[in-house]
Symmetry: C2
Subunit: 233 residues, 2 copies
DNA sequence: CGTGCCCGAAGTGCATGCAATCGAGGAGAG
DNA sequence: CTCTCCTCGATTGCATGCACTTCGGGCACG
């Protein structure tokens, strides 16, 4: 566990809070994160806020620019592709590792989580996204491999960022039923089925999200103008 | 690029230096890293040293204990297994991505690197290990996927730690010829061959390294005693 | 000779202060 | 009216200071 889990750790508190804000899209890509404001908001000094930002930066969630205000990262389309690629591999590895090895209480916890997802389905979209993400992290944590948990967490968070950037009408994309199928395959110990289910699950999420750079509505004014830019002759 | 590459970044300097010291086994697992000493050594204040340690901790290279001196992590045998598992997957992903897509200058750089490995083969073992590790990182960087680079770097560094812990007579394990075969397969665009070569390459490294916890000579007295610990009735 | 306690030294946790840097907005020239 | 330059507030970069915690050794005691 790279990051202190104990509750009296100020830095950990801030990181968790910010991660959650990002995952629920309360903080959109590009949002500014001044050290003072953060410190004030969380009742700590700038030193601590700064440190927390450093941690988040190392997770690829915020971007630190020298002498400039830190911002929530704005993943490029290429970044998004890469991240989904790796996610695919890692999550396949996860299901391969845990298929047929889950205790009944673990299965129960997974099912309870999916139930929570279903209940939240009509609620605010942000909550749905968070729960769907947490499902995958929960899966990862059942491998008992801290490294896997860390990487999948990071990647899942960054996928949320991507989602909030590229897939506007995030049409309740959670795929709750897919989560259920995966649980069942895992319970049956059918690793191959679980892997292919996970594969198609992620694939559908990715495809719904990554609909090509949607030339208009490009992030940056410069990007938008790029195609129109022709040198005067 | 999660960590500032520009040379005037104090934190980056410290991190790079420490990573290198770890990879070359100048800093063994368990080595203490007091903030003051680090600060003094690098000509910065404790604040910066502390920040750097935080970054290294997020990479899983050092362990931060509250109110205690930070130390270089001592991976457990289980950690080592997990890490090699993930490494296997990620490196297979890498060769799949770059097989047949390398420019001739990239191939040349790879070959030059292996040549350097061969030259260093008789030199200090630490250098061999570093070069072998850098070869894999170089491969990763050719995917142009910052995330992959980051993860493989982290994992490769941690493998070095593991090596220095479990494989005592690190018998010039570099496997230079295997690196060459991999390059050739990549050049030919034979993704499958490259993947299986990489697989067996890593497998042999892992097997040479992970020779089971060698029950005697257990790291910690507490670990040795653990199986004998039964609560009094 | 082994065991438990206590205290000084060492080290961390965190806030604050000051210098350096960035950038937004206004003044002035064209 | 527009463009450029310059200044000042906002913000970061970093060192230092102080309180608190832990460590390790000496001393009394069994």
């Amino acid at each position: 566990m790279p990051e202190a889990p104990n509750s009296k750790d100020k830095v950990g508190m801030i990181c968790r809070a910010l991660r959650r804000a990002i995952i629920e899209q309360a903080l959109e890509p590009g949002a500014k994160l001044p050290e003072d404001s953060l410190g004030e908001r969380f009742g700590v000094s700038r030193t601590i806020a700064r440190y927390a930002l450093g941690q988040l930066a190392s997770e690829g969630l915020v971007e630190l620019r020298r002498n400039r205000i830190a911002v929530v990262v704005t993943p490029s389309w290429q970044d998004a592709r890469d991240i989904f690629d790796i996610r695919m591999d890692l999550e396949r590895l996860i299901v391969r590792k845990i298929a047929g090895k889950l205790s009944s209480s673990q299965i129960a916890r997974l099912k309870a989580h999916v139930e929570a997802e279903r209940e939240a389905h009509d609620g605010p979209n942000a909550v749905s996204i968070r729960l769907a993400t947490e499902f995958h992290i929960m899966l990862a944590s059942m491998t008992n491999s801290p490294v896997l948990v860390r990487y999948v967490s990071e990647i899942a968070y960054r996928c949320c960022l991507t989602l909030s950037l590229f897939s506007r009408p995030h049409s309740s994309e959670c795929g709750i039923s897919e989560h259920i199928s995966i649980i069942e395959a895992l319970q049956d110990g059918d690793a191959n089925k679980a892997m292919s289910l996970m594969h198609s699950h992620l694939d559908s999420v990715a495809n719904r999200a990554l609909v090509e750079p949607t030339p208009a509505r490009g992030r940056d004014l410069l990007d938008v103008l790029a195609p129109y830019t022709e040198e005067a002759t």
